[in-house]
Symmetry: C2
Subunit: 214 residues, 2 copies
């Protein structure tokens, strides 16, 4: 077999190993999610193990995290452009936690909740996507007549401060970019869902208590 010189995979083999149908691989190729294989001849192409791990990343981002094609493309482009890790992780956070899906088009944000939280928690006073998202979200809640008091922000942020500390401490960063994104994205998604489920559980438990007492 001259084909597999150098350990390269053909499209069909790539498909078999990852369980992704050839037609889907071609689709990802077309959409620019998966870089073209090395055209070894005009009708043969060779895919590297990086292609396999990229494909697994795409699958995880689609099936587990639930991102759409456009979001995945943006993230992968950043990775391929070799942006600094911190920037890459910020983009992963923004995408995975849907930080840019708020109606930020409300013009100026009149609810500087971020400022309040920064003071309350003594966090560094730096701009961030998360801070903007928070401001926009609080503004949205205001417009829906759902009050967000400073006391609420204090209690929430105090609680989440301890969680975030744990999260960041537990973070390990793999060297391979595909794995880095995979770990970060899946981890963030899973942890945020865990928080939501625990919150639901907590609320349900408190509701039961109130109901029993009454």
């Amino acid at each position: 077999m001259t084909l597999n010189e150098g350990g390269g995979l053909q499209l069909k083999e790539l498909s078999e190993r990852t369980g992704v149908p050839p037609a889907s691989i071609k689709f990802y190729l077309r959409e620019g999610l998966l870089p073209a294989g090395q055209a070894i001849t005009a009708t043969r192409a060779r895919y590297s193990p990086q292609h396999a791990s990229r494909l697994e990343l795409i699958q995880a981002l689609r099936r587990v995290v639930g991102l759409n094609i456009a979001q995945i493309r943006k993230l992968l482009k950043l990775a391929d452009d070799g942006v600094p890790r911190l920037e890459l992780l910020a983009a992963v956070q923004r995408t995975v936690l849907r930080l840019d899906e708020v109606g930020t088009e409300h013009g100026d944000i009149r609810t500087p909740a971020g400022d309040a939280v920064v003071r309350l928690r003594n966090w560094p006073d730096a701009p961030s996507d998360a801070r903007n998202a928070l401001n926009a979200h609080v503004a949205l809640m205001d417009s829906l007549n759902i009050p967000v008091t400073t006391e609420l922000l204090d209690a929430y942020s105090k609680a989440l401060d301890t969680i975030a500390d744990l999260d960041i401490a537990a973070t390990t960063a793999p060297d391979d970019v595909n794995r880095l994104i995979m770990t970060a994205a899946v981890g963030m998604h899973m942890h945020s869902q865990l928080v939501l489920k625990l919150l639901a559980f907590a609320q349900a438990s408190h509701a039961i208590r109130r109901y029993e007492d009454a």
Copy 2:
């Protein structure tokens, strides 16, 4: 105008007041989200203010909370069947917080995280959707090799305990069923999103600190 005897609205008027196109109203009628109007004659129908508030509820559930038609239909059916409020609110929580969207089909759940949390927080030891969802989610994280230690659960649940207490205390329940669901669903959604945004902000802040210190 004999039509508006009794203050009823015609479909077109209903449309004009709520801003929902007539074709969409017909669609909701077909899908069983909106009960049929009172057929005052064979070709005239009259819609009550309840129809308007129901329509507004549907809009909020779709546009703000992001539920799909099937989910909305289930919720409204419960309301129309007159199930007890606590049960209704549990269903709202399950739907809004996507408690049933985990792969609970994994057979038996081998990670009784709920038990641990119940002990740690001294919560009532009662079954709930939230508890099941938590168990399923922790099992999923286990299967993805994302460790969920008791220490993590302790810190998370402790933090969320205080938040849930605030949330439940702040809850007011309107009498009108449509408004009840609207308030509960929008409130839960907004608060959960607030938690997520604050968590993201907290993580970003901690990351900055670490980065600066290093």
